[in-house]
Symmetry: C2
Subunit: 346 residues, 2 copies
Amino acid sequence: MKLKNDTFLRACRREEVERTPVWIMRQAGRYLPDYMKVRRDHSFQEVCKTPELAAEVTIQPVEKIGVDAAILFADILTPAEGMGIDLAFSPGPVIAQPVRDRKGVEALRIPDPRESVPYVLDAIRLVRERLDGRVPLIGFAGAPFTMAAYLVEGKSKHGFPGIRSMLYRDPETADLLLGKIADMTAAYLAAQIEAGAQAVQLFESWAGLLAGREFERFALPHVKRIMEAIAPLGAPRIYYAGGGGALLHLLSDCGADVIGVDWRVPLGEAWKRIGQDMAIQGNLDPCALFSPADRLEAEVRTVLDGVAGRWGHIFNLGHGIQPDTPWENARLLVETVHKLSRWGVR
Amino acid sequence: MKLKNDTFLRACRREEVERTPVWIMRQAGRYLPDYMKVRRDHSFQEVCKTPELAAEVTIQPVEKIGVDAAILFADILTPAEGMGIDLAFSPGPVIAQPVRDRKGVEALRIPDPRESVPYVLDAIRLVRERLDGRVPLIGFAGAPFTMAAYLVEGKSKHGFPGIRSMLYRDPETADLLLGKIADMTAAYLAAQIEAGAQAVQLFESWAGLLAGREFERFALPHVKRIMEAIAPLGAPRIYYAGGGGALLHLLSDCGADVIGVDWRVPLGEAWKRIGQDMAIQGNLDPCALFSPADRLEAEVRTVLDGVAGRWGHIFNLGHGIQPDTPWENARLLVETVHKLSRWGVR
């Protein structure tokens, strides 16, 4: 089936587009009244695990905000349960028995995603059916270092000292953990693509915790292995490196087609440092969505001007949208990006 | 009174030293059994507000770990109470009524530190007396943007969206808030120096939340104003920029004598980007203190080698020491820095 709006996929391939595609990290989420309505009757995990509900909230921002791509509703820790992790949300992730030592790592399984997360794959099929070619669907997973940060810490904690200490205290165990997560993730993303995801994003939300030397040693090789494993499936692959401003020069080698950058480095400068044979995604400060309308337009223009004249830009925030963002401003953002980037018209 | 060990102060002035001085951010704290013994009977705030107790825990790491400088025990939010903020710790800071709007900012007072924090100044006098010239004492304060992040959020929260949204939503109110904190802080640090602090550090723990443009607009001018206000007092001034790897080129203009850098950028590279007419402090990854002894020595050597042959380096961690660090490793760190940096001997 031909897509009605394939600007996102074309931008991933650095092809010409009539206007810059835009989607928003965490676009299916708490800032949207429609999402909150679903959450009134269902917990976060219920929504993740019920294909009907996951599909509903995945599609909401396409209809309400007008984004150029949908992204599957799930958590980066969703596939960890299949590895043997006892996971709850309250509201952030809470792992009953964090993975702290060799024994804990050895006990982790590498599940078949068709058995461990059938609901994710069903949700993808349902979303594709209901989107009916309006926009493409993005699948996703957490990158191994970021996943490991949660598995070792057991929750979100500033600086994630657990995994970072392990890199010094017991690097062999860290290697084993990261390798197992990478194997799981490669299979998980492949299954998502086979179920219908038309692109995938690997979230390295905590890239910024690592110095370049540790990033090259513990994060990058696993990312590269995942990217290479799914390359034959042909879906564009995005690597988002949160806080990775000091690591950009290392990213050209990560195997992705697109690099997602956060808001802390001007986008044009980031693209030069990454290398312009990759596409780029980003990078409005999520807090800019609290601006008055004229200021928001100026901020969007600054991002677009930073990369104008070069194909291969997907507009996004530099980080997930804040839950207290006025949803009308998210819609205004999408309209403004489309208005200011009518490249065919200029 | 002449200091018995003034290597820290000489390094701040980029003078020759016989060995590299070292201290540890949060060296008076939970990793030390002696500190935990005091905390068994006294809350965090009691220790901050009782000169006798604050002096005791300030001196502990000098005696137990062998650091080349003491740093006053207090919290960066300690002086906020004098501005009218209702502050508690449980265990992180909790502000009953966060500063969210113009009215809240206008209500903030700029107190005379002799009236608002007499216990801090008494603690400084007591520490100086008890140190009896063994090592110098460092005073400190939070930098305005970092302080504002807490005052607006009311607690520690990932990304501190409150202050960052305010920069877009209402930059005039943000300016007023930052200006008031800067005025308070200049007076607070001046009072600390007058009471006996022989150097001061301004903690910009959350520098890394800002893009360069916002850092230059909202953080840097206030830092510079504080640094200039206390310059006539002659005590070396350190500016620590946590997460500031992408901002280093902007720091040469901040008015400090020394820049403290975190662990995410190699120290030699950081020094070049900042400019070598300033001294530098840092930057071992705090998690390296979980290494086996031989690995720790290698890590210390890497930091020292990065800046060898140039005067003006103060060894430190790149961030506060983790509470679960084995205290013996902190002592081993100090011994190793001293052993590997016998510049007079080489």
